[in-house]
């Protein structure tokens, strides 16, 4: 765990935690790179200068592999594995930006977008918005008739941050942050498929759960479903405000 | 533990810096710490502590009390405080936490 924390950089997200280990040499998009054994292909790609789009991966958290955005092609292996959950092997040859991969990523992101508030796409600056920009997705072809989470109630019980399930992409970064970084285990994913949702405690408002309001989940949330109340126009100073 | 009986400063001293009872309690506590040590080291430990950590008026008040009988003070405290007046002991020029 030594390297995981001590090699983090403020201006770079490696995608998965840095590791200690014997050097492993591989090739990413034609660039030779050497990383410690145990590193992910995503980390190696970042080291090699390839910007692989991602959503559920973050270098302060153990990889989860749920978002299906960081897919890559690896010579000699079938399919399109997630680079965050694939450990490096000596001699691997990896491609991160083929037309097939672009198409797959676009498809995945369009699906995410179809269940995202339409009026919060233009002008957004969250990590999700930046990834959309990176892949070149601005709209989706699915119309507005299908089921969505648009009407979900916003949890404002915590005085400092809110949780808007309509923007949640169920990447579980918040759950992992609460477990791995803070160690409180206040959050969980409940339900299956379309009904999967992030819950605090026993499906309680955040303030009533075991949440200690450390803000690690807010910091890790890529879509600003969890976001600081102080970032909104007209936010009152909490010295005089009561909980809304 | 000590239980001081005389609580007024001798007439020749400057105004008391604090109540004598409090001073004697503190001195007694220092003596209790050094009690497990052999007598010479205990006395030196007390001397060094008073010299390094006590304000001069506090030391003077303690010495005045000792001159007036030293009621309720353990032997190592009396011996250590008396060493403060010994020029030879002062020349050791060590100041700091207790050591061998």
């Amino acid at each position: 765990m030594w390297s995981e924390l001590r090699r983090l950089k403020a201006d770079t997200d490696y995608g998965t935690p840095p590791r200690d280990g014997a050097p492993v040499a591989l090739e990413i998009d034609g660039v030779a790179v050497t990383v410690p054994a145990g590193s992910s292909v995503l980390l190696a790609a970042t080291e090699a200068g390839s910007q692989v789009p991602k959503l559920c991966a973050c270098d302060t958290l153990e990889p989860f592999g749920s978002c299906r955005v960081c897919l890559v092609e690896i010579e000699g292996k079938r399919g399109y594995p997630a680079s965050c959950t694939t450990p490096v092997e000596a001699g691997m040859v990896v491609r991160t930006a083929t037309p097939r991969l672009q198409a797959l990523r676009r498809g995945v992101l369009e699906l995410y977008l179809s269940d995202f508030p339409a009026d919060e796409i233009e002008g957004g600056w969250s990590e999700f918005h930046q990834t959309l920009e990176q892949v070149g997705v601005r709209s989706h072809p699915y119309g507005n008739a299908g089921a969505s989470h648009a009407g979900a109630a916003v949890d404002q019980s915590n005085p400092y941050f809110l949780f808007d399930p309509a923007k949640c992409i169920v990447c579980s970064r918040c759950v992992r942050a609460c477990e791995e970084i803070q160690g409180t285990f206040a959050l969980a994913l409940q339900g299956r498929g379309f009904d999967t949702q992030v819950v605090a405690g026993q499906n309680q408002p955040f303030f009533e759960s075991d949440c200690v309001s450390c803000g690690a989940c807010v910091q890790s949330c890529p879509s600003q479903a969890l976001v600081e109340k102080s970032l909104f126009d007209g936010a009152t100073d909490h010295a005089t405000a009561t909980a809304t | 533990m000590s239980s001081p009986a005389h609580l007024h400063a001798p007439p020749s001293a400057e105004p008391a810096v604090m109540e004598l009872e409090r001073l004697l309690t503190m001195a007694g506590q220092i003596g209790d710490f050094f009690a497990p040590y052999p007598p010479e080291r205990a006395a030196e430990g007390v001397r060094n502590h008073l010299r390094s950590y006590w304000e001069p008026r506090m030391r003077a008040a303690l010495l005045a009390h000792i001159e007036a009988g030293g009621h309720g003070l353990a032997p190592q405290v009396v011996a250590g405080a008396r060493l403060l007046q010994d020029e030879a002991a002062a020349k050791k020029s060590y100041y700091g936490p207790p050591k061998a």
Partner: protein, 711 residues
């Protein structure tokens, strides 16, 4: 929902709360702070923070902030506003006036552990070079001064031997008298990570705190000892280690004073400290003591983390020495993953210790009575200095009541709320003729002040903080100081007004001066910190970018060897009696910070709107107290009212409360007992009685009393 607005500017600075000293990015928009984001490259926090540093920053523009200097001739008059020049001149004249009437040693100063290293250095220089005495103290007096004393005696340095990350290499973690999950949350999270990886956790604490038991993190042994029995229990642990031959003889022979080890070995081998004898006396199972001792000694890497549950006792310094002795005997020093680590509470209390904000030492822990050291400071400051140790803060109050101490300069400190034996402190403050207070808000102490100078928060100034792992980091100004001056600029003005001409271009110049007079800080400068972010002292010619782990080859004592101190158990004189049959101990909670000055002015009070008294169901039932009822809590020294709450975390015979709210007046209860070496107050042991407020006739709640007969 509307879109959140993006911050415009970002400044990396250090959290103003606890001794973890998280690196935070203060993000602003249109001149207002809109978010504090943990900085990933912060070496003490690695991108994590807690509810306080992350969210509770709104205190900085709270309406209660003191915005102009205030002065008055007597504490019975209302305040009147004044300009900076007028207030500084009034303060200077007032302090000098006291000296003219009562002598040079009749005034003193207290620096603030919430202020920067540069400000603390200037405050102790104010006392020494300008007041002309050594009456300067800091709040470590009431928390970790025994750490200074006890660790200096055994291993030569009164500071954490490791950096925080070192815990990731520990196999056994021994936590004594500390609750990191609430007091040092980010470090607590790191501790939990390591325990989830398989390290063994051992805890010595009267309460079943969250550190003892939380999801996926359980202590293997928890010694819930009776408050006041630390040295007894630690000697018993030592007894096991010594009599079962578990100590590392090679380490002791090579790196310690062997004759002193033998002396210590004889003391702790005494049957009086056998677990079968000491255990029941402390309320513990002897087998648990044996298990803890064996696990700690076995390691291979055992690390000690301790807090105020060790220091705030009448044998505080002795307790710290016990920990030093244990680590030396078992060879748990001088590499990663081990060590003796005091969890310093305040953001810059370590700085206060390092920079000589003490009556007995100058910066760098060098004694004022030492003529050579004094000469170097006289040369550096251009003025003759008092050769005698000054008064400690508790002794300043004693001297105000019993002697002729009559004036104070208090920076960022609220002794009336924070110091023990409140009635005594108030009596002392009433006896003062002139008190200058520099703070963010009016507080309990300002009721007794004659000058109130507006302080500046950590968000409003430049300088450095030193955290609990000796890490010096840059505090960077995010917004301008509310009243126009940074705290260090105010101290410089006061120095000039009192006749000591001095000036500095910026805080960086102050750092260079203090570095030249403090060996462990000699290589520090703003330029170095811009380049590498932070550095753990010693930062000097041998270690230009700082030192992560101490004691690698030698201990900083004169002969380079560690030593063993004789730690005989002396029970505190604060004992239960028929009148006061319970023991009160105190602690902290996550969301509030110390006296609550900052956190009570944030939404954190939603979690902890009042201090409550935790009482076991057995004790409550015996007194007819219902869960949630108001109770009268009384000690020999005073009385107050709190809400009682049933708790399974305290054993029968022990009650517990926090002290974050001024209205609770918890320090009306705490005693006048203190550590033998440093006068650190014995906050952790107070004999009390707890009764229902609507008590039946004939049972009276105690009020201020003279000494009681002890049972």
């Amino acid at each position: 929902m509307p879109l959140p607005l993006q911050p415009e500017r970002s400044v990396v600075t250090v959290c103003a709360y606890c001794g973890v000293g998280c690196a935070l990015e203060a993000q602003t928009r249109a001149g207002r702070i809109v978010r504090m984001l943990p900085w990933k490259e912060g070496k003490s926090n690695h991108g994590h923070s807690c509810v306080k540093g992350r969210f509770a920053y709104h205190y900085y523009n709270d309406p209660d902030r003191v915005r102009t200097p205030l002065i008055r001739d007597s504490i019975d008059e209302p305040w009147r506003e004044a300009s900076w020049d007028e207030a500084i001149a009034f303060a200077a004249a007032g302090l000098r006036g006291v000296q003219q009437r009562h002598g040079v040693r009749a005034i003193g100063a207290v620096s603030s552990s919430r202020c920067t290293n540069e400000e603390i250095y200037l405050t102790q220089k104010l006392a020494r070079a300008v007041f002309g005495n050594n009456n300067i103290d800091n709040c470590a007096r009431i928390c970790h001064s025994p750490t200074q004393f006890g660790l200096s005696a055994t291993i030569g340095a009164g500071a954490a031997s490791q950096h925080f990350d070192s815990i990731l290499q520990a196999d056994v973690i021994l936590v004594v008298g500390a609750n990191p999950t609430e007091g040092h949350p980010v470090f607590g999270s790191l501790l939990k990570r390591r325990v989830r990886q398989g390290a063994t956790l051992l805890v010595i604490d009267p309460r079943r705190t969250e550190t003892v038991s939380s999801p996926h993190c359980q202590a293997t042994v928890h010694l819930a000892l009776r408050p006041g029995t630390n040295v007894l229990v630690l000697n018993s642990v030592a007894h096991v280690i010594v009599t079962e031959g578990l100590y590392r003889e090679a380490f002791v022979r090579e790196r310690c004073e062997w004759p002193e080890f033998e002396r210590w070995q004889a003391l702790v081998s005494d049957p009086r400290y056998a677990p079968e004898v000491a255990g029941p006396e402390a309320g513990l199972d002897p087998e648990a003591i044996r298990t803890l001792a064996r696990r700690y000694a076995a390691g291979p890497n055992s690390a000690i983390y301790y807090g105020l549950g060790v220091t705030e006792h009448s044998q505080g310094s002795t307790g710290v020495m016990c920990l030093g002795n244990l680590a030396l005997a078992c060879g748990m020093l001088g590499r990663e993953g081990v060590g003796v680590n005091p969890l310093r509470g305040q953001g810059n209390v370590q700085g206060g210790s390092c920079l000589g904000s003490w009556p007995h030492v100058y910066s760098g822990y060098r004694f004022v009575s030492d003529p050579e050291v004094r000469a170097s400071f006289e040369a550096g400051w251009g003025v003759a200095l008092d050769p005698e140790p000054g008064l400690r803060l508790p002794n300043m109050f004693d001297a105000a009541v019993g002697g002729d101490f009559r004036g104070m300069f208090i920076m960022g400190e609220d002794p009336v709320q924070s110091d023990p034996n409140q009635n005594h402190v108030i009596a002392a403050m009433r006896n003062m003729e002139f008190v200058v207070l520099q703070d963010l808000y009016r507080n309990e102490t300002s009721k007794y002040a004659h000058v109130l100078l507006p302080g500046s928060s950590a968000l409003e100034k430049d300088g450095t903080f030193t955290n609990a792992e000796r890490r010096v980091s840059r505090v960077r100004q995010v917004v301008p100081p509310l009243a126009g001056l940074q705290d260090w600029e105010v101290v410089v003005r006061l120095m000039n007004a009192m006749g000591y001409a001095t000036q500095y271009r910026d805080a960086g110049e102050v750092l260079l001066e203090l570095a030249s007079l403090t060996p462990a800080y000699s290589g520090l400068s703003f330029e170095l910190l811009e380049r590498i972010g932070s550095a753990q002292w010693p930062v000097d010619a041998k270690a230009p970018e700082g030192t992560e782990v101490l004691h690698l080859e030698r201990f900083p004592r004169a002969n380079g060897l560690g030593t063993f101190m004789l730690t005989g158990y002396v029970p505190t004189t604060e004992r239960c009696s028929e009148r006061y049959p319970l023991l009160l101990t105190t602690g902290r909670i996550l969301t509030q910070y110390n006296a609550g000055t900052q956190t009570r002015r944030s939404a954190n009070s939603q979690w902890h709107p009042e201090d409550v008294l935790e009482i076991s169901a057995a004790d409550a039932n015996a007194r007819g107290i219902r869960d949630g009822e108001q109770v009268q809590v009384s000690s020999r020294f005073g009385s107050t009212q709190l809400k009682a709450v049933y708790s399974q975390r305290v054993n029968p015979g022990v009650v517990y409360t926090t002290f974050h709210h001024a209205e609770s007046r918890v320090n009306a209860l705490t005693s006048d007992r203190s550590d033998w070496a440093t006068n650190c107050p014995e906050y952790k042991v107070t004999a009390v009685e707890v009764l229902r407020v609507a008590a039946p006739a004939g049972v009276s709640a105690a009020s201020t009393q003279a000494s009681e007969v002890l049972a």
